[in-house]
Symmetry: C2
Subunit: 326 residues, 2 copies
Amino acid sequence: MADVARRAGVAAITVSRALSRPSQLSAPTLARIQRAIAETGYVRHALAGSLASNATRCIGAVVPVLSNSIFADTLQGLSQVLEEQGYRLLIASSQYDPLREQRIVEAFVGQRVDGIALTGTTHAGNTRAMLTRSRIPVVQMWNLPTQPFDCAVGFSNFAAARAMVRHLCSRGYRRIAYIGGLTYKNDRTQARERGYRAALSEAGLPVKEAHVRRTPFEFENGAAALSDLLEADSSIDAVFAASDVLAVGALLHCLRRGWRVPDKVALAGLDGSPIGALITPELTSIRFPRRQIGVRAAELLLDRIRGRPAGVVEDLGFELLTGGSA
Amino acid sequence: MADVARRAGVAAITVSRALSRPSQLSAPTLARIQRAIAETGYVRHALAGSLASNATRCIGAVVPVLSNSIFADTLQGLSQVLEEQGYRLLIASSQYDPLREQRIVEAFVGQRVDGIALTGTTHAGNTRAMLTRSRIPVVQMWNLPTQPFDCAVGFSNFAAARAMVRHLCSRGYRRIAYIGGLTYKNDRTQARERGYRAALSEAGLPVKEAHVRRTPFEFENGAAALSDLLEADSSIDAVFAASDVLAVGALLHCLRRGWRVPDKVALAGLDGSPIGALITPELTSIRFPRRQIGVRAAELLLDRIRGRPAGVVEDLGFELLTGGSA
DNA sequence: TTGAAAGCGCTAACAG
DNA sequence: CTGTTAGCGCTTTCAA
């Protein structure tokens, strides 16, 4: 920066201003500085700037995985709003491991990001304390916490799963099995499983543990779980998969076996993935505003950074997609 | 840090050492400092540390998009190796836009990351100059550059596409159409399209421009493009899609219409996506070591950071997956 | 094994 | 509109 300043015949602080508030400078000064920057290929040292100004203009986001594209839309929404406001998004994945998440959060705090977006509401023991102490604004996404760290935006995974199982009941299905994710520290899949159980109970149907399968979110696991379920109990007339990845895997398995869906077994998912709409029969599923969750999360964080109080919890709702699969 | 030092009755520099090289300290001193850290909830200011030490232990990675899971495995490989070596991965997406990529690279340079991983070999005009001047090690992934910035790891997208089209020819298909991505500044899809054209020419078959479709990588676009192609020319007997996303979309379209694959039309993709193996008929595709690209990219960067010279270009190859779709 | 002094490259605050 | 001064919080270097 000193080098650029010398070339342009100004003080370093003027170069700093040319970069951060160019409108404050006279046109000729600005032009001289910009030429000097171009000539030298100078790139501002963002770390030193952040240290001096005590603001990084970075937001950190943690998602469980990158391989499941359902989080990509949320990140895209986050990214776009933040970018428009001059913020950068740092993305990291926790692999569904709260301790990894905590280490990521610690790194974000160490980097002094201006805000943090987390997925879900279950976190390791020290994460909350660390975040509270850091006074960094936090938004929790994708599920509605009863005790938010700060603010939150998402939808009720419980209500969504319950609505889907109620829908299956209303269609006359009575022996409804369940394929979900591993519940270990995953509040979204936990809530969905609770929704399944609640809907069955409300309909006066028994919840059989043999009708419940838990497996990581991969297409092939959905196929295997369905195969398992039907082998164990061929009277099952419908399967609710708590994620479209599992539901699509199950549906493809049926097609491969030549089983007619929903005649052999009805299938329903939850996520509203694009591929569900292309399969024949179309997958009955639940759509929620994946991208909008990111957009609102960004806006809530920016509000907090600009001084609004904490405590907002936004429910963006969901919508049933009726396909031919159920 | 001064606060922690005071509590532990040591100088700040000793706290710094407790964090970076604990083995250098006596056990009691270290214990006192660690207690003080726990009591205060101190989190080291990484920015200030990086400014002083002139090393961030961060690596930046740019992928085109997060929504296509094919890049997730590469990022996973990168992340794992880097994490083991005490480095953090910063992820950003360019949306297939070289100018966005350049802004991201500039931000990475500004953050003084210790290394940068880029996807592909086509970049905006100033990107190369900026990277060269910054002297930051760079690895290009997923395609093999003729003039690498620094080092590279991937496979020949040209050879892979050519191998697939040759395979289709060897199966007796003669009117082979093509569905690929938008070639605008995407070297992978460009190379794949060139591979398609080369294989046809080598087989003595004409390349008809009406048999070439380009569209963004979304399932539904694969479906629409196939529909278009067959409507325009029902004599097409095979379609090579340069990406499994497009191929799966096309295949699902056929199934929806009740068209038998490969009787009505043979289909082949490229990427080796897991879902291709679950669809009936299984998708003929090409697999390459997506995760290993990330692993090697990380290793090459670490080598460079530790002083090895530039210039390595690694070809990790690919493998044909023969499915029932062709 | 521990500490004192200096400074990384930038920006806030104040001044002119 | 532009400049001077004084740090931001840490680590390097040198010393004890």
